[in-house]
């Protein structure tokens, strides 16, 4: 079955160079420059991925992850959340690369198109790294009293997580 998202990527891949050409952009040179940035981004992300994936694999193989998930399953289920999601939800506001590594690990474990795999991607995509952004943005102008910015950011993260769970259930049926 072909869905909207099957067409999304081909249309974008074909449409953007056409659009650039119409606007008189040197599309080839700009693509190459952007691709270089992409490769550098991947190179920057990889060490973090290695650090987290190794630690999580060790945790899983030793059985510690089963304890954690087992212990959390009850309270999480009461909130309607799958226990596997908790480590991701906890790390998402703190470390963007760490959260991406956990998302990758959940997809590796459960499959990219599994309910957990999709949910992890929605959580990953629906918020940003709140604590990091607050540190960088306020740090850049020497603001130490951040007032309600932190509370707003973290509560919004929690809202995003619950919304992700319910929206996934509704969207993917």
């Amino acid at each position: 079955m072909s869905t909207y998202s099957d067409w999304l990527v081909p249309i974008i891949v074909c449409g953007i160079p056409l659009f650039g050409l119409l606007r008189g952009i040197p599309v080839y040179a700009e693509f190459v420059e952007g691709a270089r940035e992409g490769l550098l981004l991947a190179a920057r992300l990889l060490p973090y991925l290695a650090a987290i994936v190794v630690a999580i694999s060790a945790l899983r193989a030793s059985g510690a992850m089963d304890w954690l998930v087992g212990a959390l399953a009850g309270p999480m289920a009461a909130l309607g959340l799958p226990a596997e999601l908790l480590p991701l939800a906890a790390i998402r506001p703190i470390s963007g690369s760490g959260a991406l590594a956990l998302t990758a690990d959940l997809m590796r474990q459960h499959g990219a198109d599994s309910a957990i795999g999709r949910l992890a991607c929605v959580v990953q995509g629906s918020t940003d790294t709140t604590l990091y952004i607050i540190a960088v943005y306020f740090g850049s102008v020497g603001v130490r009293r951040v007032r309600h910015a932190l509370a707003c950011g973290l509560i919004a993260d929690a809202v995003a997580m619950f919304a992700s769970v319910y929206l996934c259930r509704w969207w993917f049926g």
Partner: protein, 191 residues
Amino acid sequence: MDYVWTLLFVAAIVAAMVNGRPEALTKAATEGAAATVQLGMTLAGALALWNGLLRVAAKGGVLDGAGRLLRPILRPLFPSLPAGHAAFTHIVANTSANLLGLGSAATPAGLKAMAELETLNPKRGTATDAMCTLLVLNTVGVGLFPATVLSLRAAMGSNDPAATVVPAVLASLCALAAGLILDRTLRRRWR
């Protein structure tokens, strides 16, 4: 992060001792590292593709177009800014870049906006209302084009890498609404 990360390994060793499977731990650690490099190769390819396309789109003026659409939506969110202030231009550029998944363009614009907002700050070292609103926009970070997640899903062998885009946008809009309402209610109390 140092403590958390080390603690993960300590927890793994303790659990391996209790469960009596140290060999599984050795295997997991080495295979985990190897799997990362394999993943990295595919991920690097996908990221190169999307970043290349995004750059072409940005050079073609997609950011300015998005900015024109966003301007009237963003303006009422920053009532404390004088009309025509440079901070607002940077805020629009920052939000457009976030929306289109151009993280590398979003942060410089956001930091310029903060620097401009600081010139309006009567109390050095304390956040202003406008700064907090800008932070809500950024910590939620509504993104219509999540290139990294898309690349990762493709690298993990998904049949439908773009399947999570719409639910993620809807979830982040919920978070944005919550964040902005909280920002409005808390700003008067939290001075």
